[in-house]
């Protein structure tokens, strides 16, 4: 292992990863673009939230809560810009997801398959819960109804998509 050639003061430092700037820029962009384009080919793909998967991946890989907040905020805002809603809703939610994901990655081995499954499923539900809270209490939107069965299905589908995507993106990791 190349990592053993350097001195690390903690497991956190050893597990920290960085990404090539092009990867950091292109992957979120492609996720947002694919999210906007794929439902045109197959409408049921609207259930996918690839930007969320990307935020979780980068947050746990970098193991830095500040980086997680920033990644989540930027990807969320980019997603918001394509909607017809006030800018910042997804920015807020994904910033929190990025923060929590990065914080958890400092304590738990997030490279294990089981952890990834639980993590993706939970964060997807957490996002739905936070969106409901923002719509109901912050924006006072009376039209919002949450279909929990649908949200569970969404969490399941996103988890299924996230696992191979995580393995694919693992190849882009570089030791910090």
């Amino acid at each position: 292992m190349t990592a053993l050639g350097r001195m690390y003061s903690s497991r956190r430092e050893m597990d920290e990863h960085v990404f090539h700037p092009a990867i950091s820029l292109l992957v979120p962009l492609v996720a947002v673009f694919a999210g906007a384009y794929l439902p045109k080919l197959a409408p049921w793909l609207m259930i996918l939230d690839l930007p969320l998967v990307v935020v979780i991946f980068f947050s746990v890989a970098r193991r830095s809560p500040i980086s997680g907040v920033m990644t989540g905020a930027l990807v969320g805002v980019l997603q918001d810009l394509l909607l017809n809603q006030p800018i910042g809703i997804n920015g807020m939610v994904k910033a929190v997801v990025g923060y929590v994901a990065a914080s958890i990655s400092l304590r738990v081995d997030v490279d294990a398959l089981a952890t990834r499954v639980v993590m993706n499923f939970s964060f997807c539900l957490l996002q739905s819960l936070m969106l409901l809270g923002i719509y109901q209490w912050l924006l006072r939107d009376a039209n919002v109804q949450t279909r929990w069965l649908h949200e569970l299905l969404r969490a399941g589908v996103n988890t299924v998509v996230a696992i191979p995507l995580f393995f694919l993106l693992d190849y882009a990791k570089q030791r910090a």
Partner: protein, 366 residues
Amino acid sequence: MDGFFARYRNALVLIAVLVVFTIGLAVQVRRPDYGSREDGKHVRVFRYWAVALVSPFERVFRATGQGIRGIWHNYIDLRDVRRQNEQLKNDLNRMRLYQAAMAEDARQGQRLQALLEFKQQYIAKTVAAQVIGTSGSEQSRVLYIDKGIADGLKPDMAVITPDGIVGKLRDVFQHSAQVLLISDTTSGAGVVLETTRIRGVLRGTTDGRLRILDVLPDSRIKPGEPVLTSGGDQVFPRGLKAGVVESIGQDRNYALVTVKPTANLARLEEVLVVMEKGAVAPEQVAATENEPETGARGEHLPQLKPETPEEAAKNAKEAPLPRPTPAVRQDTYSPGATPSAATLTPGARHDNAAAAPSTEAGGDQH
């Protein structure tokens, strides 16, 4: 103090980001009907850059998809034919290419013909546009099309297909535009049930379905009844197909009328943007446009931007003169009874009684 910031640095960054977003949201949601109206200047700039970033990829992918389909249909098929018969290869190549091109032309011709017939029937001027992308989220049901300001598009123009209404333009950029689908929760259209003539406001629900709001229970409403646009929302021309009644339920004192859209909103490829509405009689438009579209609870549709005094003055100048109502009983003073000045000869005698003999005769009888 430094120790505090160092210790809670991560949480403080998160809180700062959340506070900034909360303030941003508070500023934005001060505008009523946020989701259905065009964005303010500053927000629109941000959205413009995002769309400018994403839409070129969408255009390229769309074109590439068409190209790949073309290659599949032409090249792969032709390669199989070559294997089967070497001697007929060239002929078959030409024939298949010709056939594929003809089929594509025929399909396109049928599609354009359908659009043209529809256009002549209802609308004065439209622009055809291709759908290039979606919002990518179930939170908002919007589409992106490949036409924009450069093609004469403006916010609040109706977007339709020959099958039925689709939505209206929200943000319009230089070469693309955002279409707010009628299935979005912030969208709204004035509709009338075709046979019962019950009017209401058609709105989208969270699960992407359509519902007519605030309709009082009426046993005459049956599933399968066509739903047409009423024209009262000042966006959609009157009389366009919006959907058919799918089911009728009850919510407290109101009927829950669920509507299935006639246009396939999930699989749109080409749409028409209504640039001018001209097929409806001016009197009908005037009559419907002056009455606000309200449900039983008095809920208003998301309206167009209020007129500024300058716009109101301009519109007043451009508005046609009011026409007198037709006379119940014709007489010499009735509009149209007097011959036009162009037909009169100076010095000649003109008998008005001859111009309206029946009226005069009718008057004498009384």
